[in-house]
Structure formats: C-alpha cells, structure tokens
Amino acid sequence: MREFIFRLFGRGRRPPDSDGDARPDGGTVTKEQTVGRSRLRDALDSDLLGSLPFWLPPALLIGLFVYGAIGWNVVISLTDWSGLGQPDYSSLSFAMYEEMLSDPTFWTATQNTFVLLIAFTVVTLLLGLLMAILVDQNIRFENTFRTIYLLPMSLSFVVTAIFWAWMYNPEIGLINVALRSVGLDFLAYAWLSDPRFSLAAVIFALMWQFSGYCMVVYLAGLRAIPTEQYEAARTDGASTIRMYRRVIIPQLRASTTSAAVVLMVFALKAFDFLFVLFGPTPGPSTDILSVMMFREAFRATNWAYGSAIATVLFLMALGVIGPYLYLQYSRGDL
C-alpha cells in the first residue's frame, strides 16, 4: 500500500536515454534544420496516434462533464436565470456576484465553510498522525486496528449522519448518556441544535469519519522512512517524543500536504452529511456554501445565483489544488 502513494504521481515521460545515468554533456547542434525536422517526426513517431483511442474517449468525457460544465456554470452565473424558464445568454453581467456580496447569508456560509475547512483539516490530520504513530509501534493485530479505524471511510455520509444524529441525541444519545454517567451532566448539551456547538459537533463527526484516511496516508509516509533513522536517533539518545518531533514528523511533509489537500477539498464540497442532518436550510450556525448553493439552485430555483456560489466554491478549490498540482509538476512528479 505504501508504494502506492509514492507511485501515485509516477513518472511521466520516460527519460530518453535508457542508460538511465548521466546524460552526455554534449554540445549544441549546429545543424538546426535537421533538428527541426526530427522534432516533427518525433512527434508523429511517438505513438501519439496509437495512444489516442485509449485516452481520448475518457478525456472527452472529462472535458465535457467536468471542464465543459465548469465553463458553462460560469456562464450561467453571469445570467439572471431563475424559475422555470431557460437561461438568457444574451445579456451577461456580474449582477449575481454583486447580489452575493451583499447577501449576509453568503457571508455566514463562507465563514462557516472556512471554519469547517480549517478546523476539520487540522484536527483530522492531528488525530490521523497520532493514530499512525500508535499503529506503527509494531503492535499485534495491526490489521484489525487499521481495519476498524478506516471503517467509517467506507460508509455513506447518509449512513454516518444518521448514526451521529442518534449519537448526539440530547436525551438518549450515547454521547450525553455517557457524559451523564460520569457526572458531567452540565456538559450534556443539545449538540446539533445548539448553535454554539452544532458546527463543532459536525466537525467532530467528520473527524471520526476521515481520521482513518489520514492514518493510512501517514502510515505510508512512516513506513517509507528507513528503520536506520529510528535507530540512529535512539543511538543519539533522543527520547521517543523528541525523535518523532525532530526526526520523523518533519519527513512526513509530503504526506501532510497530500492529505491536507484532500481534506480541504472535501470540506469545500461537503454536502451529503450536513444535508442529511440539517436539510437544505440549516440556519446560520451550520450553513455552508455547498449547501447554500444547492438550496438556492435546486430549492429556490435561483439557478444563476446558485451557479455564482458554485463558481466561488470552484475558485476556492482551485486555490487549494492549483498550488498543489504546480508543486507536483515542478517536482516532475506528474
């Protein structure tokens, strides 16, 4: 499993010289025209044609459904389309975006989205890291523990939302029953309906669902660190905590980056879980952009307005993945 992550953005083009070793430092070519001719031929000879039937159909599907749809969505967001009619593409304006900026609901949802994005990502990464370190202690039944920790990831958000609604039930839910049984009655809040706690309760439940994923990613990172480094740190007399802080965790940066990107993008598109818990109109404490977008477009039929919110969501996602992909590309990992 661990190789997977590192293989993931595997090699792109195979280095041309199969010697694989140092390329000759050879000078530049004086015969310009021959080089130009060969480039053209290289392009034709390089099996582009043979490879087309394989990647072009899926690429077209993605082009249409993903990128075409994104572009179309932007165009729709510039119209004033709402209700049952068809969009009028003849007069495009930023009216929807102006409306959005003056809509207090939008700002509340944006704020909640950011809180969710940051808090969820941070706590989930930390818990996942902790679990990965614990599981990496050469324990017995490692597979069983790993399987249990990752189990929530295999469940639908509809399912987990129903579980957590029950867990959070103020009177007879497990959380409050447990709190009362240890004498913490004053902490037994109505977690989901109390605006002070509802977003935190959602974040906690999502952390439950996603920390196993982070564990898997970190575990792969940990296993890629040679045992000698643990031994060297021990020989240097470092305590366990210092060893992890100074030697091991700094080497998990790549794992952290990729897991954080996935978590942040998830936080932006999180919909199912909140929708099942709170419906399309969750109220200011748990309203987030993705739910607001759905509400505006598919409940209020403010299609253009919904598209404008969706465009903002897309740009936010781009803000997360753009740098990540650029990083991957400049490292030559794509």
Partner: protein, 294 residues
C-alpha cells in the same frame, strides 16, 4: 521500529506497552461506538431504546427484529436501483480509467503531462460547480425521448443519466489509480513487445490487461463504494420515485421517521451493508484506493 520494541519487551511487565494497547483499544471503541450503538438500537423496540442505554444490548422484553423488516421494505427498491447504478458505473469508469492510464503512461508521446494535469485536477473539482449545467445538459439531451422506443430503458432514464455522470466523474480517480500502477511496469518489457511485433492495442490486450488484475480489484472496490455512497448527484438528477437509489430512500426514511431511531438505524445498516461487506472482504484494496486519492 522493531528495534525499539525489542528493547522494550525485555523488561517483564511493560507498562508503556500496556498503555499503548489501552489507547488503541479505546480508539477502536470510539470508532465503533456509533455503529455499535446503532446496531443495538436497531434490535430494540420503541420503548426499549428510549428507556435503555444506547450501547447496551436489548433486554429480552424489548428485543425485536421488526425495524429490520420495516427498513428492508422501505429500502429494497433503493438497494436494487443502487446496484443497477453502481455496478455498471463502477465497471465503466474502471475500464475507461485503465485505458486512459495506459494511453497516458505506457505509450510515449509529447504533451502527456498537460492531459494528465486535467485528469488529476478532475479528482478535486467540487460537484457543486457542475450541478446546474449538469441538470441543464440532461434536460437538453432529453434522454427519455431518445429512448422512448425502448420502454425498458426509458423508464430507467434517470439511472442511465446517473450512470453516465458517475462514470465521467469517476474516470479521473480511476485513471490516477491505474496510472500509479502502470508506471511500475517495466518499460523494457513493453519495448520487447513492440519489437516482438505487437501494436499499441495488442500490447494493452495481451500484456497490460492480464497484469492489471490487482489494480482492477482496488479500483472497482473503491469506486463501487464511492458511487454507492453518493447522495448529491442522485438528489439533483433522479426525478422519478421508481429510480430512487438507496441513499435517497434512506434520507427520506430518516426525514419521515424522525423519532423512530430503531428503524433509522436498521435502515442505515441495510443501506451500508453492501459497502460493509465489500470493506470487510477487501479492506486492503479499499485502503489502497483511499490512499490513492491523495
């Protein structure tokens, strides 16, 4: 890590080690508690779950399997439709992913990176940013009218749209999963096949495909879980109640039976059962798929 534990275990009772296992077990309890309390509740009568602690097994007087029958009768159509959706959509996106990964990894041509970029970025696109055009697109296509001559398919228009949509959005992650695997295939072996006279297509068919079995397992399992679990696309694309998938049915059940937690829990388990079975049987492959998303 082995060295460390070897040292630790030399001293008789190792409190550090006991503490470690205690933490691991408590964590396991934390991860399982929602499922455990849900499972217990699903076997309790209304009075029993209101009157008892959630994670405690039902008392003999309060034991019932009624919620399961009730949940099954409400969800069976959804389960059937979800299978009808998830199986073809999973297979299609995996096949497309395998083809694309081969064309973008093992066959060498310039400009691959740009195409690969678009595939990778496709994994991360929030569905919300395509929802409105997507519904508009399927309205304009009018699949139902196109299929009017084939009533069997026409009734299933919503599911067909959903299959195609899930296939398209599943291709990026499938491609990346396959690509990471294909990148480890010895390029000299493929060159040997070229020198042996095999064409690009023959190499795929005779060499790549037979070698792809493990990664097909990973991709199919991961993608099946994803499609089975999705709510959002179904919510905006499915209009007719006959085509309802299980996540929709479950959401409705939850909305209409607000206080019947035993029924809700049984329903959640019914809806989760296929993915749970897949997960228990193929946990390793699922973990590989999950890890591949990063």
């Amino acid at each position: 890590m082995s060295s460390q534990t070897a040292n630790d275990s030399t001293s008789g009772i190792d409190f550090q080690r006991i503490g470690l296992y205690a933490v691991l077990v408590v964590m396991a309890a934390f991860y399982l508690s929602p499922l455990e309390s849900g499972l217990m509740t699903a076997f309790k009568s209304q009075e029993a779950f209101i009157g008892s602690t959630p994670f405690v097994p039902p008392p003999p007087s309060g034991f019932t399997v009624e919620p399961w029958f009730e949940a099954w009768s409400r969800l069976q159509l959804g389960v059937f439709n979800s299978l009808l959706l998830a199986i073809p959509a999973t297979a299609l996106s995996a096949i497309f992913g395998s083809l694309a990964a081969y064309g973008l990894t093992n066959v060498d041509w310039r400009g691959q990176v740009a195409v690969i970029m678009l595939f990778v970025a496709g994994i991360f696109v929030p569905y919300q940013s395509v929802l409105v055009p997507l519904t508009q697109f399927w309205t304009m296509v009018g699949l139902e009218d196109i299929l009017a001559g084939v009533p069997l398919l026409a009734e299933r228009t919503g599911l067909l749209e959903l299959i195609i949509t899930h296939t398209a959005y599943g291709i990026p992650i499938c491609t990346i999963l396959f690509r990471s695997y294909y990148a480890t295939i010895d390029p000299e072996m493929l060159e040997a096949a070229r020198l042996d006279g095999a064409t690009v297509a023959r190499i795929y068919w005779k060499i790549i495909l037979p070698l792809s079995v493990p990664i097909f397992a990973v991709t199919l399992i991961y993608q099946f879980t994803q499609i089975w679990n999705d709510l959002l696309f179904a919510l905006v694309l499915l209009t007719s109640p006959e085509n309802q998938v299980v996540t929709l049915s479950l959401n409705q059940l939850q909305g209409s039976m607000v206080q019947q937690y035993n029924l809700q829990m049984a329903g959640a388990f019914v809806a989760a059962l296929p993915t749970l079975v897949v997960y228990v049987l193929f946990g390793e492959q699922f973990a590989e798929g999950v890890a591949g998303e990063s």
